[in-house]
């Protein structure tokens, strides 16, 4: 354990909602826990208890989704209806039965990352003939980043599920087993 980190200002008591809003503080807390500081764990558990606040990320994901669907479908109303329908089915399938709030969030993330990747690839392919070399490289870099985000989103959910037998997270005052 690094004593420097354990005595850092991040060790000061902060509320869970403050930690959710301030990612820098949360990261500092995580690093302390990672270094073995047991006193960081109660605060981390408090963060996970704040499910309604964490749920704001679902809103964020849905806003991004809506914005991409609008761009992808343009004036085509059928596509505008069909994509969210498919995404909903995809989310449900990924989240599985009785998902924990965290699993539900991770399923949202996988879906939105998948949609983002599809969108960037579609733009690239649509403009392939008209692009300069610089523009093509720019689009490829963006696709690569989206692809990395997508893979990392899948990995995060797989990780949570792998740890499932021994993981119990107390979210919103309910003891929830993360096993799907």
């Amino acid at each position: 354990m690094s004593p420097k980190k354990a005595n850092s200002p991040a060790a000061d008591k902060v509320s869970a909602s403050d930690l959710i809003e301030n990612r820098g503080k949360l990261l500092a807390l995580i690093e302390r826990a990672q270094d073995g500081a047991k006193d960081a764990l109660p605060d981390l558990r408090k963060v996970l208890d704040e499910a309604p606040r964490i749920a704001r990320y679902i809103d964020l994901a849905r806003n991004v989704e809506r914005s991409m669907v609008e761009r992808m479908s343009g004036d085509d109303l059928f596509t505008r209806e069909a994509i969210p329908h498919n995404l909903k089915a995809m989310r449900k399938e990924i989240a599985g039965e009785n998902p924990s709030p965290l699993e539900r969030l991770l399923a949202e993330r996988i879906t939105v990352c998948w949609l983002e990747l599809q969108y960037f690839e579609a733009i690239y392919l649509q403009n392939l003939g008209d692009m300069t070399m610089t523009q093509s490289e720019y689009h490829q870099r963006r696709i690569d980043k989206a692809h990395r985000r997508y893979l990392s989103s899948i990995k995060a959910l797989a990780q949570i599920r792998k740890m499932a037998p021994s993981m119990q997270i107390n979210i919103a005052k309910k003891q929830i087993n993360t096993a799907g």
Binding site: I30, L44, L48, Y57, Y138, R149, Q159, M163, M167
Partner: protein
Amino acid sequence: MPWESRERGGIYYTRTRRENGRVVREYVGSGLLGHLAFLEDERSRHEREERAARWKEEQADLDALEAPVDELSEALDLLVRAALLASGYHQHRTGEWRLRREPKKSQ
């Protein structure tokens, strides 16, 4: 300036370009010929500027779309780490998550 006046009188339209790192000035002509070349160059320049502006706008548009996905991903990575740590796991230096072993209490 693309228009150049001569000592003998009259103005010439010129084009400047770079060739093997050297600046080369080409004399296009005076009168109607010079004027037509000037109009053609103006049109090309305008088109280039419009294309560049469109490209910049497209980049900003895609950046705006990517930023919230990035934010969501970062936030959820932190939550996953928080959940794993709170459940007694630690990240080994190889990146793998392992259950933290409690040291045996000596009696």
